[in-house]
């Protein structure tokens, strides 16, 4: 079965085996060089593995883009207490569907990445926290893990190295907030999925109170390749500040939505117009959300010349996030889209911090009222002020994540709001 999302311009590192069921087995994965990464890591040692990942410049693929090697180096060097590696597979950012594809097509890629990460940080136990709705994905991974255990790749004395690394799958109950690193730890421990105040940082006090490192699925998958080929190899792709390749999840108004892998720095318009076949019915581009719903919205002008790397998207006024590109054409009702996002964040707020608990709900209700044609121009000022009060005032960034689309949409698409407020006209209401 051919993978439906393919384009000749792609550089396939992580997605090489997507669509090939054979790669789901240990043998299939080994056939493409799999488990060579952990073998080499065991050979060169922990410190050298971390140095490799540092040299590669790999940045966290979960959204924040923090340098992975640096994160690993924060872990205590002594093994006085157990260390844990936590793999964040709670992929639930609206518009994002890359981790799911990595796991369901190449579960051993993730398992190998977990082994490399665990080994590097001195963890003998790794937890993979899976999104509750990932039924098929979880089954695929569970089968693969069972096989990896049977083959001696996971468990005690892996690959005859004397190193013990266990991997446990933990399925969440379906909460966006459990994808926040400390929320994930709370949930893993059996508590309510509530983020924790930092400091202490996870490398000091993480899961079960022990030093922990948490990495995204795609990050660990990339680390497996870096462990196999070395840090410099990874830098053949991407830019100085954003090395390597990245999966881009393109959805919305394009002819060929899907998962595409490119070196970072790939031009946004080329992705939309060429790789994804352009916008249906010849409509004009209106807006792009480049990094999952939690980042500022870009208008068509922002998109021109924008390159898809951390610094490139930042220069265009938004953030690369987890590279989930949501494309909206001229028929899109921005107010409705923002209201739907607001509803999502209000529904997913854990409710600990007042600005988030109350602010996300309040903003949703104001947006709903505007959408229903009962808004006033004052409401826009109120929305912006609420959003400012939700920015930088909470334990985690969930409320910031709603503030950004609200503020940017009012800034860039004020006319859409005013048309509704003044004349009751909905843009693209079809």
């Amino acid at each position: 079965m051919a993978y439906p999302y393919r384009h000749d311009k792609e550089t396939r590192v992580l997605s090489e085996c997507f669509g090939d069921p054979a790669a789901r087995t240990v043998a299939g994965w080994k056939a493409v060089g799999g488990y060579g990464g952990i073998a080499r890591a065991l050979e060169i040692g922990r410190e050298a593995t971390i140095e490799d990942v540092k040299a590669s410049g790999l940045r966290g693929r979960g959204g924040a883009g923090f340098p992975t090697g640096l994160k690993w180096s924060f872990m205590p060097k002594t093994a006085a207490r157990p260390h844990y590696l936590l793999c964040n597979a709670d992929e639930s950012e609206p518009g994002t569907f890359k981790d799911r594809e990595i796991i369901r097509w190449t579960p051993h890629q993730l398992i190998e990445g977990c082994l490399v990460g665990s080994y590097a940080i001195g963890a003998s136990h790794c937890y993979i926290y899976l999104r509750g709705e990932f039924f098929e994905t979880t089954n695929v991974l569970a089968r693969a893990l069972e096989e990896a255990y049977a083959e001696g790749l996971v468990g005690s004395d892996i690959l005859g190295s004397g190193v013990d690394i266990d991997i446990t799958l933990h399925v969440g109950a379906g909460a966006y907030i459990c994808g926040e690193e400390t929320g994930l730890m709370s949930s893993l421990e059996g508590r309510r999925g509530e983020p924790r105040i930092k400091p202490p940082f996870p490398a000091a006090v993480g899961a079960f109170g022990m030093p922990s490192t948490i990495n995204n699925v795609e990050t660990l998958a990339a680390a497996a390749h870096i462990a196999r080929h070395g840090g410099e190899w990874y830098r053949q792709w991407g830019t100085e500040r954003s090395p390597g390749t990245k999966l881009f999840c393109v959805s919305g108004h394009v002819n060929k939505p899907g998962n595409y892998e490119f070196p970072l720095g790939f031009p946004l318009m080329e992705l939309i117009e060429d790789v994804c076949g352009g916008i249906p019915a010849g409509n004009a581009l209106k807006a792009v959300i480049p990094g999952g719903s939690s980042v500022p919205i870009m208008d068509a002008a922002d998109c021109r010349g924008c390159t898809l790397c951390y610094e490139g998207v930042e220069a265009a006024g938004s953030m690369l996030g987890c590279a989930s590109v949501i494309v909206m054409d001229e028929t899109s009702d921005i107010v409705k889209q923002v209201r739907r996002m607001a509803h999502f964040y209000a529904h997913e707020s854990c409710g600990q911090c007042t600005p988030c608990r109350e602010g996300t709900t309040w903003a949703t209700r104001i947006l709903q009222r505007i959408e229903d044609g009962r808004g006033t121009e004052d409401d826009l000022d109120t929305l912006v002020q609420i959003s400012e009060q939700m920015t930088g005032t909470t334990i985690c960034v969930l409320s910031d994540s709603l503030a950004m689309p609200i503020i940017s949409s009012i800034e860039k698409f004020r006319e859409d709001y005013l048309a509704l407020i003044r004349r009751g006209e909905r843009v693209g209401a079809a």
Binding site: A346, G351, T354, E358, T361, E388, Q389, G392, T393
Partner: protein, 536 residues
């Protein structure tokens, strides 16, 4: 601080332009408090862990990229902190507005009104007008069991109550259910707070009117209550409390912080048992004469008559005290026995004892003690022997049949019959209520309860603690220390003690166990017997 010559490490920082030096490890919130600045806070409580989730205590720390939660940010050398900068004020105003989006403004019918932190902070710094136009969310009221009601609409989700039950009571019975703005506090499926031993504290620590006491519901407005520092009379641990009174009635008991005794807490048993202080039908006037000869007298007449009888009495004396009485009263009774010509044959008290102690696991100092009276230790130190059973009954057969002098102080003799003291040559009863067993008393003298007088108790930790008068006593009731002190003074030919402190000073002079103590040194926080501080 002087121990081992080691100096505690301190840090010096600037808060709102003032230089402050505090011990290392002090939070910015406490550092600000030390210079008299209250940083508003809800989720933080000094007796609980700090989740830093209410976000109203955020302050500006120069050099930090964002406002910092002052409850969990530790003071550091050279820090420059602004609690009142435009950014901090704007944020607080914002958080207060968020609370009011859904908080019902039902202050006129809310029990917390007048002592509500949301009310206070909004009055201080809130917006003049709210901008919320959407209808408010409604949860309604939930009975949590025990004495606790939950008004979900008023809740600010600070989770103090959940953390109290988890961390201090270690009896997890409350939790947050749902999430986001749908989150409410709730009990678990099959049980609430009924039968819990310390659950009443969740009402005290609730910063708003979300958790209220059923017993206190709609009984009084906060601003009508007088607060009097006192000691819980319901067990020998002697939790420091406040009597909250209105219309000369105790309306509720509230814990008063004392880290040496009860922290911020008190038990539900102690909290619930106060109605006896409000019971009507008290002894109102002194009376003399047995049976049909009984007639009321004024104090002067009664005491003169009694003094004459006491001075003339020859026989052995039986003293029955009560561990509900103050040290001053019990010392007065003992002194009276000593001044009489006859030998003191009996010097006893009775007190109910519970089968078990009830500890508070998260604050191990606090234990609901077995003795369900406040001054069993004081009575012991002052020479009284415990008698009777664990119900606080019996044990008085010898006294009841005693043929010579019987003086009963504060024991209502409820289990005794009408023959009590029938053979006595002189029977004096100092009490608060009429008693069938006092029918043979030659003198019935109305005394005050601990709530109607100043005095002291000794708790189970051997700590002397003072309580103050919170209620006006009935017509002619007098503190027992005064009545007994007057009689002792008359027998000795000295001045009657004119105050509780004076009575205490005489007690200290007479009893080595109390050596070195002064009324002032005991103060509102109490002092341990034999402790250095007592002499300081």
């Amino acid at each position: 601080m002087a121990d081992n010559g080691r100096k505690a490490e301190t840090v010096t920082l600037t808060i709102d332009g003032r230089e402050v030096t505090v011990p290392k490890g002090t939070s910015l919130l406490h550092a600000a408090e030390s210079v008299g600045t209250e940083v508003p806070h809800y989720c933080y409580h000094p007796g609980l862990t700090a989740p830093a989730q209410c976000r109203i205590c955020l302050v500006e720390v120069e050099g930090a990229p964002k406002l910092q939660p002052s409850c969990v940010t530790m003071a550091a050398d050279g820090q420059v902190v602004h609690t009142d900068s435009p950014a901090a004020k704007r944020m607080r105003q914002g958080v207060l507005e968020f609370y009011l989006v859904n908080h019902p403004l039902d202050c006129p019918i809310c029990d917390m009104s007048g002592e509500c932190k949301l009310q206070d902070y909004v009055f201080d710094e809130g917006r003049e007008r709210g901008r919320g136009r959407e209808p408010k969310r409604v949860f309604g009221r939930d009975d949590f069991g025990g004495d606790v009601l939950y008004y979900g609409d008023r809740c600010v989700m600070c989770t103090r109550c959940v953390r109290f039950m988890d961390e201090v009571a270690r009896d997890s019975r409350l939790t947050v259910v749902e999430r986001g703005s749908r989150a409410v506090i709730d009990t678990f499926f099959d049980r609430g707070l009924e039968g819990a031993s310390f659950a009443g504290n969740v009402v005290d620590i609730c910063p708003v009117g979300a958790l209220v006491s059923k017993d206190f519901l709609h009984k009084a407005r906060a601003w009508d209550l007088d607060h009097t520092p006192s000691i819980c009379p319901n067990c020998s641990h002697g939790c420091n409390i406040e009597l909250h009174t209105r219309d000369n009635l105790v309306q509720r008991l509230k814990p008063r912080e004392n880290q040496e005794v009860n922290g911020h807490w008190m038990c539900d048993y102690g909290r619930a048992n106060y109605e006896w202080l409000n019971r009507p039908g008290r002894l109102e006037a002194p009376a003399t004469g047995r049976g049909s000869d009984r007639r009321t007298a004024d104090w002067k007449e009664a005491l003169e008559l009694l003094f004459g009888r006491l001075a003339a009495a020859e026989g052995d004396v039986a003293l029955v005290g009560s561990a509900r009485c103050s040290n001053e009263a019990l010392a007065g009774l003992g002194a009276l026995g000593d001044e009489m010509r006859g030998r003191t044959a009996q010097r006893v008290f009775r007190a109910p004892r519970a089968a078990d102690e009830v500890p508070l696991p998260g604050f191990p100092l606090l234990v609901r003690r077995r003795d369900l009276v406040p001054n069993a230790h004081g009575a012991g130190l002052l020479g009284f022997q415990r008698c009777g059973d664990d119900g606080g009954e019996g044990g008085l057969d010898e006294v009841a049949a005693h043929g010579e002098v019987i003086i009963v102080l504060g024991d209502d003799l409820a289990d005794q019959d009408g023959d009590f003291g029938a053979n006595a040559s002189l029977f004096v009863y100092l009490g608060t209520f009429e008693s069938a067993a006092a029918g043979n008393a030659d003198f019935v003298l109305p005394i005050t309860t601990f709530a109607e007088e100043d005095g002291s108790f000794v708790n189970a930790q051997e700590r002397v603690q003072r309580f103050q008068q919170g209620l006006r006593p009935p017509e002619s009731a007098r503190p027992a220390w005064l009545v007994l002190g007057a009689l002792v003074a008359a027998l000795r030919g000295e001045k009657t003690p004119d105050s509780a402190p004076e009575a205490f000073a005489r007690l200290v002079a007479a009893h080595p166990a109390f050596e070195g103590l002064s009324w002032e040194a005991v103060g509102d926080a109490g002092v341990a017997l034999g402790a250095e501080a007592a002499h300081g």
